[in-house]
């Protein structure tokens, strides 16, 4: 199980660092997000101007979602081209194939997240929470990234085409963040939207992650949020695995 997972992960990472296009895009993208979104939007909002710190967890979530989309895309490409079958005929657990892909996606996402953080700190973001907040924030981000990497894979297992995949996956990207407290506080939004946000994994993540970076008014206990995130990850891996098993029938 471990060897197979490691092999698949390693293969993806080797291809990743060899692919200049993908690498370049991944480096530039987060810089643009922080610059355009964080600084630009921060100027438009009233307040003390530390919008970069406020929305940093949101940008990190966005980065994780982008990586998940890319990871699903990679899986779909391998599936459509038939590369996946090499893994499928090998005597390795199906779970290891899935984990190899998830870990590769999450690794790329943390590679990018590291860049986002560097850029954000240059742009004036700061850590205001203690070490405990920071640790919780990292855990929550990993859970969030793994969950959505799995969901993107689950979608990629059913999609018949690249276009179809993007149509489906778009639903999980920006709308997900806008229906949460990732980019703005929920105090001024309508009640129905606040309710929607309560059932949104992006909100659960923000609840755990934001205290490390900015003053945060909790809308639920961070312990509950963390539990919900864990349940979300377990559920999404389960969906991906059962769909993967069903691919042979």
């Amino acid at each position: 199980m471990y060897t197979a997972t490691h092999t698949i992960w390693l293969r993806h990472m080797r291809k990743f660092f060899r692919n200049r296009e993908e690498l370049g895009g991944l480096i530039i993208q987060p810089i643009l997000w922080v610059a355009l979104f964080g600084i630009g939007m921060g100027r438009m909002l009233p307040g003390d101007g530390d919008y970069v710190s406020f929305m940093l967890p949101g940008i990190l979530a966005l980065t994780a979602l982008g990586s998940a989309t890319g990871g699903g895309m990679m899986f779909l490409d391998e599936r459509l081209r038939g590369i996946l079958r090499e893994y499928q005929v090998a005597p390795i657990p199906r779970m290891s194939i899935l984990l190899g892909h998830i870990l590769a996606t999450v690794s790329k996402s943390f590679f990018q997240i590291f860049i986002v953080l560097s850029v954000a700190f240059v742009a004036g973001a700061r850590i205001s929470g203690d070490i405990g907040n920071l640790a919780m924030s990292v855990v929550a981000l990993i859970l969030f990234a793994v969950g959505f990497a799995s969901i993107a894979l689950a979608v990629a297992m059913r999609s018949k085409s690249i276009m179809g995949y993007h149509g489906m996956i778009f639903l999980f990207n920006l709308p997900m963040l806008f229906a949460s407290n990732a980019l703005y506080p929920l105090e001024n939004v309508p009640t129905w939207m606040r309710w929607l946000a309560m059932f949104n994994p992006a909100t659960w993540y923000i609840e755990v992650a934001r205290p490390a970076f900015a003053v945060h008014t909790p809308i639920m206990s961070s312990l509950i949020a963390l539990t919900l995130l864990c349940a979300f990850v377990a559920w999404s891996i389960q969906i991906a695995l059962s769909r993967f098993r069903a691919m042979t029938s």
């Binding site: 092999t7 060899r18 692919n19 005597p91 042979t248 029938s249």
Partner: protein, 313 residues
Amino acid sequence: MQPMIQARTLAKRFGEVVAVRNISVSVMPGSVYALLGPNGAGKSTTINMLTTLLKPDQGSITINGHDVERESDLVRRVIGVTFQDLVLDRDLTGREALDFAGRLYNIEASKRRARITDLVEMVGLGDAIDRMTGTYSGGMRRRLELARCLMMEPKVLFLDEPTQGLDPQHRALIWDYIRMLKTQQGMTVLLTTHGMDEAEALADVVGIIDHGKMMHEGTPSALIGQLGSDLIRLSGTFTHLHTPEWTSEQWVTSWQASETEIRIGVDIGARRITQVIEFVNQSGNTIEEVSITRPSLGDVFLQATGRALRDER
């Protein structure tokens, strides 16, 4: 001796489309079996079921004595598979492709290196092994794929259209490898092809499938023998034709007639041809051409399915 591959009454449908109906295949250890059929006959679906990629709707498969569904890991440990479409990663070198395959099968590093050296020599890839596979020609890719599925020293090889799209030299080369694997390593091989010559050249047993059904099965010589030792072919216009009484006689092994062509399998062509021509002429038909040939697998296929193989080479 127990068969290495034993598939019983396999069936698979995709929605409305029945891809495979009631196919049974049995392959003895150390022999080469060719599934012969046109594109869309159900060859790939069959091979996907045999290699654990697809669950049959009906029927059972054992490979090396293990049930494909219940003991899939034991089966996967002994099979090597190449696919119809090439599945190489263009961003990896040939050596990396082989190395990753070895890792998947838990082969330790020193053994992987030794195995790669042997295989590169066998398939003659030379220095090209350290180039990205994206730069390979079709023939080189096929050779690398073959090398890759041999990394873990399988007992059974499944080759889906192993020579598709290759030039004659490369086809001959791949044929040589397959023969060598069989004679030197006693490997069991199941391959699919739509090339008559390929099946004839390689297979101990040929199964002709069309529309997902097994039409005929046997050694190439037995299948061809069913058609008689000679085949008389007449072309022309045969609109006033009825089946002659003499088709029931001993010397006639097969009779097949359409409005433009008649094929008759007989014992000795040169002796029977006058009688045949006389009969056809008397019924008021026009003969344009007559030939006597040794029947081939192509004729067997035509007899079995009523049509020539598309894309026959």
